[in-house]
């Protein structure tokens, strides 16, 4: 089939070719092989199909719900439900748009690579910038169109009601305007953050800080997911004009929608004004970033790596002159050098590598999302002592929280340190491996795993335990969880014989369904056993002491065994990644 002549003319021009190149680059995260990138495109197309099917399924469910509400005598329940669902739909769209924007944020502005590769070619800079913008527009437009198309039947089913106050067509049109505005705001917010960082930071800091901010925002968005699904319940808060909603961006766009429908409610109009202001501000920041980058492209991108942009260079230089020593570590420290080497290498890599940080924080955020959503659902935020009908369940959930967090954090840290990083640089570890150093190096891994999989979750869960069961009970439950954690660290490091990031980890080595089922079963068993032990310890002091002692002894024996094994068994290394993609076995 021949492409239309107009399209061919566009795609054959340098701008068209560049747009197509930049658009393709949005699907390239730099970690996939060509075959993997191809699979990712297919997976994306499958996800689009699934989204449309899901939209239709939800439309049917919502049609039933709104038919019942429309049959009621009073319009109030319908209006409250509509406000809640509008809030949910707009937040859902914003979230789904923000996630891919964040994923492709490295491609939002022309970068040094573009400059070095495209600069020597006979292509004007304006063409590069226009192509970059067009690619971004196409990419986000594709997501926005699919999302809005899949949600339109749902919004239509919500709008057919005698209480609606306007025609269904009108309501769908206005919802689409508000929702598209919300999507644009999501894209602008992420782009503005990236733009400001590009302009302000030195190239050295840009990579590490951008990675950190990207991972944190990604984790935050993941934590938001279950709460977005609770938004339909906030219809009454919207109807009562609760002031805290001013800090919830999706509420601004619900205000915009209502203002466009002709509402004269001052509260909704105020929210609409906020939406427009936020849009204008985001657009302004992005426009300024693009213009500054366009005008000072060479200056910004080719400045020495350690030098910031001219507008911040003075401050930067001032701060750096204070740093003179190489290593502030205490030379009399008892820690062996091999331990330090691996400990620092691991922590620096987790701090700087976008991929590893994304896996670590993204998976951990799932744990935070799961536990916090369940706690909020059980009334943790508005608990009222014994008057809370869910008091017993809440206590169970509070005891469950540290174990759930430990399990998911454990999985995430194990996955993050198993992923490779510059595998061809491994030779330095291979050259320096000794029997004496090996167990120290593995102890460094153990410490990082213990801190992240046990220490952090316990610190995060302590306020929950304290608020639900008081400090004494919370302390006992935390101690039991810590002892269980000691055993859990052994499970995480079972058969671990590598320096972090020096071997390839390929998901799909086993049948993926088997892995998921096994992981889920392990999670349920671990959390249930942990809660059981903690509850038993909370019931009687003698039992608490006995459980603590037994767990302590088991953890100590396992650790001793582990260290002995590390001393004897050589480390694993992989200098070459597999050249063939592994079958997922779906």
């Amino acid at each position: 089939m021949r492409a239309p002549a107009v399209w061919r003319r566009i795609s054959e021009r340098p701008e068209g070719r560049l747009t197509s190149h930049f658009f393709g680059a949005m699907f390239d995260f730099g970690i996939l092989t060509p075959a993997g990138a191809d699979s990712f495109v297919h997976l994306s197309l499958g996800a689009i199909g699934a989204l449309i099917a899901l939209g239709l399924r939800f439309a049917l469910a919502y049609a039933g719900k709104y038919a019942a509400l429309s049959a009621a005598r009073s319009p109030e329940p319908y209006r409250v439900a509509l406000l809640g669902d509008d809030l949910f739909l707009i937040a859902f769209v914003m979230l789904l748009i923000a996630l891919p924007t964040l994923v492709v944020s490295q491609s939002l502005f022309p970068d040094e690579r573009d400059f070095r590769i495209l600069g020597p070619l006979p292509v004007r800079r304006i063409v590069i910038f226009r192509a970059k913008l067009a690619a971004l527009f196409l990419f986000m437009g594709m997501f926005a169109v699919v999302l809005h198309l899949s949600l339109t039947p749902l919004v239509f089913s919500m709008s057919v009601s005698p209480f609606s106050g306007s025609t269904a067509l009108m309501r769908v049109t206005v919802w689409m305007i508000a929702s598209v505005s919300a999507s644009v705001f999501s894209v602008l917010a992420v782009t503005a953050v990236v733009g400001v960082l590009t302009l302000v930071l030195s190239r050295t800091r840009l990579y590490s800080l951008t990675a950190l901010i990207k991972s944190l925002v990604f984790a935050l968005l993941v934590v938001c997911i279950p709460f977005v699904f609770r938004l339909p319940g906030l219809g009454s808060a919207m109807a009562r004009a609760r002031p805290w909603l001013m800090f919830v961006p999706p509420a601004w766009f619900v205000g915009l929608e209502r203002a466009l429908l002709g509402s004269s409610d001052p509260w909704l109009r105020q929210l609409a004004a906020l939406a427009l202001t936020a849009l204008a501000l985001g657009a302004l920041i992005v426009a300024v970033a693009y213009v500054l980058l366009f005008r000072h492209f060479e200056h910004l991108l080719l400045r020495p790596p350690s030098i910031s942009a001219p507008w911040v260079v003075r401050h930067d230089a001032q701060r750096r002159t204070n740093v003179t020593s190489v290593d502030a570590a205490d030379p009399h420290s008892v820690e062996r050098s091999a331990f330090r080497a691996v400990y620092r290498f691991t922590s620096v890599t987790l701090r700087r590598s976008e991929l590893h940080q994304g896996v670590l924080l993204g998976l951990s955020a799932c744990g935070v999302a799961l536990t916090s959503s369940r706690l909020v659902g059980a009334g943790w935020l508005d608990r009222n002592g014994s008057a809370n009908p869910h008091a017993a369940f809440l206590e169970y959930l509070a005891t469950w929280t540290p174990f759930a967090l430990m399990f998911i954090s454990g999985l995430s840290v194990r996955a993050a340190i198993a992923l490779p990083m510059t595998h061809r640089a491994n030779w330095i570890f291979r050259l320096t491996e000794t029997d004496a150093a090996r167990s120290e190096q593995m102890r460094a891994v153990e410490r990082i795993v213990a801190a992240y999989a046990v220490g952090l979750p316990l610190v995060a869960a302590l306020p929950v335990l304290w608020s639900v069961m008081g400090w004494k009970q919370a302390a006992i439950a935390t101690l039991v969880a810590a002892f269980v954690g000691g055993v859990f660290v052994h499970a995480i490091l079972l058969e671990w014989r590598r320096i972090p990031f020096t071997c390839s980890y390929m998901p799909g080595k086993r049948l993926i369904v088997y892995t998921v089922v096994l992981g889920f079963a392990a999670f349920v068993l671990f959390a249930a056993a942990g809660v059981r032990l903690a509850r038993a310890a909370l019931d009687a002091t003698e039992m608490a002491i006995a459980i603590g002692l037994v767990l302590l002894v088991i953890a100590a024996i396992l650790r001793r065994k582990r260290i002995a094994e590390w001393k004897e068994t050589p480390l694993m290394f992989e200098d070459e990644l597999p050249d063939q993609p592994l079958q997922l076995g779906l």
Binding site: Y207, R344, R352
Partner: protein, 254 residues
């Protein structure tokens, strides 16, 4: 003295090294020449202990590599051909990592690392991750890492690629002074000029075998063939004129 006896490496059915014998004496820089794919990097990888030879043995000062592999590796400094580094680290972080892996104490590292960075003109970029370094800068980091623990034997695989003229001159002087302290250098390269200027002896490798071994000083005697002539003859290189002509024909469209 470093001694390789009957060094052989097979990858499946492919023979990468075939019974290679050579030695590097103390106070000597041995040039290791050969075309691409001749087995130079395989030899280097075997000497530094990154790969196990299929047959043959390596001895350092009379001690078999397998008798004390850790002690053997501790006495070697290595600069690989490609600057494979953890580029998300800064030069300081990388050198500290290497130093700690080599078991150097913190005060020793605190004294040596900044000094090496200053002397190798890397001090100004000490806060930048090595992702932003040029190839020459990365080579300098690798040289600093190879020297950090004061090794007896330096194994260099094309160490001059990417270096500017000044750094190249510094490296050459440094290598001469290094071996004058009764130490050894195994210098694998493609460059005849470097071998002629630096090495006392040269070994030429082709298709996994040693095809020539010469005293470089003897080559400087008037009337003797140049190193390039010896190389071309030993490795059966042909006249490149027809090939060069064909390349130009392709781009000129004739």
């Amino acid at each position: 003295m470093l001694e390789a006896r009957g060094l052989t490496k097979r990858y499946g059915g492919f023979l990468a090294l075939d019974r290679v014998d050579f030695h590097v004496r103390r106070g000597e820089i041995l040039g290791y020449l050969g075309p691409n794919g001749s087995g130079k990097s395989t030899t280097v990888n075997a000497v530094v202990g990154l790969i196990d030879p299929s047959a043959g043995s390596l001895w350092l000062d009379g001690i078999h590599m397998l008798d004390d592999p850790e002690g053997y590796k501790r006495r070697i400094g290595y600069v690989p051909e490609e600057p494979h580094l953890y580029t998300h680290l800064t030069a300081i972080e990388y050198l500290m990592l290497v130093g700690r892996l080599r078991g150097l104490s913190e005060p020793t590292l605190a004294a040596r690392v900044p000094e090496l960075l200053r002397l190798l003109l890397l001090w100004d970029s000490r806060y930048s991750t090595m992702a932003s370094y040029s190839k020459g800068m990365r080579q300098r980091v690798l040289l600093a890492a190879a020297l950090l623990h004061n090794p007896d034997l330096l194994v260099l695989d094309e160490p001059f690629s990417g270096l500017d003229v000044t750094a190249g001159l510094l490296f050459r002087t440094l290598l001469r002074m290094f071996v004058s302290g009764n130490r050894m250098v195994l210098f694998s390269t493609h460059r005849f000029d470097m071998v002629e200027q630096l090495c006392s002896r040269v070994v030429i490798l082709s298709e996994g075998r040693i095809v020539a071994a010469h005293d470089v000083a003897a080559l400087r005697v008037t009337g003797s063939p140049s190193l390039e002539d010896i190389f071309v003859r030993a490795t059966h290189q042909t006249d490149f004129t027809p090939l060069a002509r064909r390349i130009l024909d392709v781009v000129e469209g004739s």
